[in-house]
């Protein structure tokens, strides 16, 4: 956790996270009627950075519970962001690697927090440039509201009403050495608005 964060509430603990991901994995298997063959027409796409780890966990749960291998891709949307003109310096471009053909495939885009919807918009554009998927669905751990675009999530872990100054921090063991979801008030709120970029993992 950022030392400057004022923690207002813990929304999910590690057990909640595990149960929630199991439920969402279940929903994916049912919704897309996944079986051994459907791995050919389905794909998970994790958005950098935490979406990638979440997608990997969903993939592992589906393998463990149903013994189905689903392909997993990694998507970085930096090249597609719309706040380019607002930024003083450019963020680091991370890896995009989707080894399967997206044409005709049902894709599920995975991210940690849904906020303004602008990151999802970038992700949709990025996927469209890679081919013509049969459909794209969106899965998020937390929907915190305050949408600026007509976008909604198809699979939601938890819907959390928030105030604009607050932030939702999703922390994953693999990346952050702690696990859970917290609602925080960042120290010096408004700082993020000054340089025009929201902190990573919060939209």
């Amino acid at each position: 956790m950022d030392p400057n964060d004022l923690i207002k509430a813990q929304l999910l603990d590690p057990r909640d996270m595990e149960r929630m991901l199991q439920r969402m994995a279940r929903q994916l298997v049912e919704m897309f009627e996944l079986d051994e063959d459907r791995g050919e027409t389905f794909g998970l796409v994790g958005m950098q950075t935490r979406g990638v780890y979440l997608a990997r966990r969903l993939q592992a749960i589906i393998k463990r519970v149903d013994d189905i291998d689903v392909p997993l891709g990694v998507l970085d949307v930096t090249m597609y962001r719309d706040d380019f003109m607002l930024r003083a310096k450019q963020p680091v471009v991370k890896e995009t690697r989707i080894d399967f053909d997206v044409d005709g495939r049902h894709l599920v885009l995975v991210d940690d927090v849904l906020y303004t919807g602008r990151t999802v918009r970038s992700g949709l554009d990025a996927l469209m440039d890679l081919g013509r998927p049969a459909s794209i669905h969106f899965l998020t751990v937390v929907d915190r509201g305050h949408r600026e675009l007509p976008i909604k999530a198809d699979f939601v872990g938890r819907t959390v009403p928030t105030l604009p100054g607050e932030e939702v921090r999703v922390r994953l063991q693999e990346l952050d050495n702690e696990e859970g979801v917290w609602l925080v008030q960042p120290d010096g709120a408004g700082r993020a608005e000054v340089d025009g970029a929201k902190p990573e993992g919060d939209d």
Partner: protein, 315 residues
């Protein structure tokens, strides 16, 4: 923790760029290279950004490479070449630049025969300046694409032995490569006939890290990469060496060298004079990575354009 952003606002040369900044450019270039393999080889990253390619000196591949990089990033581009422009009517560099800037542009890619011309431009316009070659001074994007190609084939640059062979004296590519390679921890050897070597290397090799030799064998022995430089035929009238045939005999890389050094990779900034710097069979050899350099050139230029396109910055 790796660097998150460049400290520079312009790319005038690699002399002042740190290893962390070069590493960031190479990392970004690898990610952009993925775009070049897609069915739709274009991303909207620089939409709304206007780039002027200001070429006061003839150039084909560098200009095309920059233009492609700009188009792949969806930037708007304007090309300006000295012939047939106001320069031939006697307009100064400063006036040309300020006139172009008055048309509202964001970035300038400049090639000029005078060393320091890009630096001069930073003082008279507000746009980000990228040096595409200034006289015999620097050609930073060429050195960056060379380094990207080396890391593709040899892994890390740290401790690698790179030999640069040919017309060292007139080469801006060498100057940029020496700064960059030394910063990244590689060992550099330069090799060529005496009239084509600079009298002193002080600016490039402050602590004497660059080894100098007149013998090709010494340069190739133990080298991981041999970078041959183009003999500039237009300078042939000045009798810097007896003939291109004799040059090839003494300094040309031939098939026998490829056989004797089975791990050696051969590079060339192009355009190649077949049978002069490199024997024709060497140009087509599987360990000649010249075309990889060209592909990497577009990716590296995309990375530089992207990283310098922010509105703020120091320097």
């Amino acid at each position: 923790m790796p660097l998150q952003e460049l400290r520079h606002r312009h790319l005038l040369g690699l002399k002042t760029y740190g290893a962390d900044e070069i590493a960031l450019i190479l990392h970004t270039a690898r990610e952009f290279r993925e775009v070049l393999d897609r069915p739709i080889r274009r991303v909207p990253t620089l939409r709304g950004v206007t780039v002027v390619n200001l070429f006061f000196e003839p150039s084909t591949r560098t200009r095309i490479s920059f233009e492609l990089a700009e188009k792949r990033l969806s930037a708007d581009t304007v090309n300006f070449s000295a012939s047939g422009s106001s320069v031939s009517k006697g307009e100064t560099l400063k006036d040309t630049a300020q006139n172009i800037e008055a048309m509202k542009i964001d970035m300038v890619v400049v090639r000029h025969s005078s060393p320091g011309a890009p630096h001069f431009l930073t003082q008279c316009v507000d746009a980000a300046i990228i040096n595409a070659g200034d006289g015999a001074h620097e050609h930073p994007t060429q050195a960056l694409l060379d380094m990207l190609t080396i890391t593709d084939h040899c892994g890390s640059l740290e401790g690698l032995n790179v030999s640069i062979i040919g017309d060292i004296l007139h080469s801006r590519v060498v100057r940029s490569n020496i700064h960059g390679l030394l910063a990244m921890g590689a060992n550099v050897t330069i090799c060529g006939p005496n009239p084509l070597l600079p009298l002193h290397l002080d600016g490039m090799s402050p602590n004497g890290q660059v080894r100098v030799t007149h013998r090709l064998e010494e340069a190739l022995e133990g080298a991981d990469v041999a970078m041959a430089l183009r003999i500039q035929m237009e300078r042939q009238g000045r009798n810097l060496f007896p003939s291109t045939r004799e040059y090839h005999e003494q300094y040309g890389i031939k098939l026998e060298h490829m056989n004797r050094y089975p791990d050696l990779k051969v590079m060339h900034p192009g355009p190649v004079n077949r049978g002069v710097e490199l024997a024709s069979e060497v140009v087509d050899h599987e360990r000649a990575v010249i075309l990889n350099q060209v592909t990497n050139g577009v990716a590296v230029r995309m990375a530089v354009l992207y990283l310098l396109s922010g509105r703020g910055g120091s320097e």
